[in-house]
Symmetry: C2
């Protein structure tokens, strides 16, 4: 089923149809570019957010020893990778769809223009040949009418005995000459007609069908490229899905491995002073000669820190271990 044979008289239809095809290709390119922008914007927003939440000072570094803090940081890292995959989608859509099809569209536009211009040229050639044939036909008609008239005049002169033989012969010769010219015109017309019909045949059976088939081939190539572009639109995203899945698994893993008991224990390890709880306050027996204490001495940590029940131990890690060691010696 080819356009050349079946749509030989549908130049306008083919013109419009191939234009609509290129319009669709152009529309699809625009669509993919918009999708790419949306994807880039999405990735950028995700990336900025993860950066903002990852921003950490010494305080956050300290907290990140706790699993529930550390896992949040891991989630941010995974989401950063996730954003990277969305960026990859955008990049690959640009490279493998938009850029490729844009180049292809330019070529097709040029090719279509050439084919349609070839149709126009062939039309003009045939029209011009037809006009030429018409003029030659008209000349034959005119010459034949003249020759016919000259023959009638010669016949009329001959039938009138008042005319001299010389005059009659002259008229006859004139009519003969005109008839010869008319015959030449007739032959020329016949030759030109044969030539024109050959040309017309070539136009309708070879030239136009060939160009229309080229346009059909071009349109089918366009469709195949477009179909490939449609498939790419899916494949590019499908290709990153395994990595996106891994990011999501990483996030779930970060959530799963959180150990609240370990976090509680870590706080103890970091801040346990190792001090014993205050002993009983001793009886100060003034009746046995004890002088009233100034309340600043004594074992009781409450003493002297009237409004502080809990000590603020500003001891180093090394000191803490020394204290713990000393206790273990008792």
């Amino acid at each position: 089923m080819d356009w050349g044979t079946n749509l030989w008289d549908q130049n306008d239809v083919i013109d419009k149809h191939t234009q609509a095809g290129l319009d669709l290709l152009e529309r699809y390119i625009k669509f993919v570019k918009e999708r790419t922008e949306i994807e880039q914007n999405y990735a950028k927003q995700l990336r900025n957010m993860t950066k903002r939440y990852s921003k950490r000072g010494s305080k956050e570094e300290q907290e990140c020893k706790f699993s529930n803090h550390a896992s949040f940081q891991e989630i941010l890292n995974e989401l950063g990778d996730y954003a990277g995959q969305r960026e990859l989608i955008a990049e690959n859509m640009t490279a493998n769809i938009s850029d490729k099809l844009t180049k292809y569209l330019q070529d097709l536009k040029q090719e279509r223009k050439t084919h349609l211009s070839d149709v126009k040229k062939a039309q003009q050639n045939l029209e011009s040949s037809f006009k030429h044939l018409e003029s030659i036909k008209k000349r034959f008609a005119k010459e034949w009418a003249e020759a016919d008239k000259a023959t009638q005049q010669a016949d009329k002169l001959e039938s009138d005995n008042n005319n001299s033989k010389i005059d009659v012969d002259k008229a006859k010769n004139h009519a003969l000459a005109r008839m010869r010219t008319a015959e030449e015109c007739r032959n020329s017309y016949a030759a030109e007609l044969q030539k024109y019909n050959k040309e017309q045949n070539h136009f309708y059976y070879t030239e136009i069908p060939q160009i229309f088939n080229k346009l059909q081939d071009m349109d089918e190539r366009r469709i195949r490229q477009l179909a490939e572009g449609y498939c790419q639109f899916s494949h590019i995203e499908k290709n990153v899905l395994p990595i996106i899945s891994k990011c999501l698994e990483g996030i779930a893993a970060a959530g799963t491995k959180i150990d609240e008991k370990k976090d509680s224990k870590l706080l103890i390890e970091q801040y346990k002073s190792g001090f014993e709880r205050p002993a009983d306050v001793e009886f100060e027996d003034y009746s046995q000669g004890v002088k009233p204490s100034n309340s600043e001495s004594g074992l009781n940590p409450l003493k002297g820190r009237k409004h502080k029940i809990f000590k603020k131990h500003k001891i180093t890690h090394a000191e803490k271990h020394m204290v713990l060691f000393m206790f273990s010696m008792i």
Copy 2:
């Protein structure tokens, strides 16, 4: 490993640590809300884009009979569904993470406030008891000193023989009375000390450890909820991945099923006129008495349409079939 036993003297640390825990929870809620907004925005952009490209008039309806046009529409539909899944992610993150954790955070804030206020109350009670003990101790010391002084004065009066026995007895009685008072104060101090030590013991070994353990339990509940929120962040998206995969498969299928040969054939079916190509132009033999034609009649479609090689067939579908039928009869 419990905070009550190991961090009994680390009230500030527990205060700060539980606050940092709630801060992290709050930060995570904010993070999820931002992600939700990004996701909603992404879905909205995709949806708007698909709507814009789906907008079709009668012209597009007509074109959609061609597989390469129809498949683009299918891709738009699939991408619309895809956007719906992204919206679902946003909705589920709001319902299953942000909203839940926000409610939970309020409860935890209240709970922590209560525990810390209980610590403060216990501290204040113990401090007030200690002050009371101090004042009783001071009174004992003062009374004892007075009694001691009175005894010394009585001894001094007695050793001086110039003093009357009445005066000496009076001083001795006075000293005895003071000593009795001092003894009472001593007993009262001893009782108060015992009471205080019992209270102090309760404070350090029961009251504070219990509250600190409640704070630990609270912090561990917070961590478990947060960990669940982390996992949800992954699961909510993982749950829609199969449908997203289906959308992508739908897009690929739309691309794959495009048939360029069928599209070419469809154009023929829609626009084939069924007319035969023009026959040869006939010889008009004026020498055989043919009158010059006015070029408007004849079988040749070129005639009378001097500048139109291709007919613009304005025929209906029915007419087309009738013509085709007539041709088939020949």
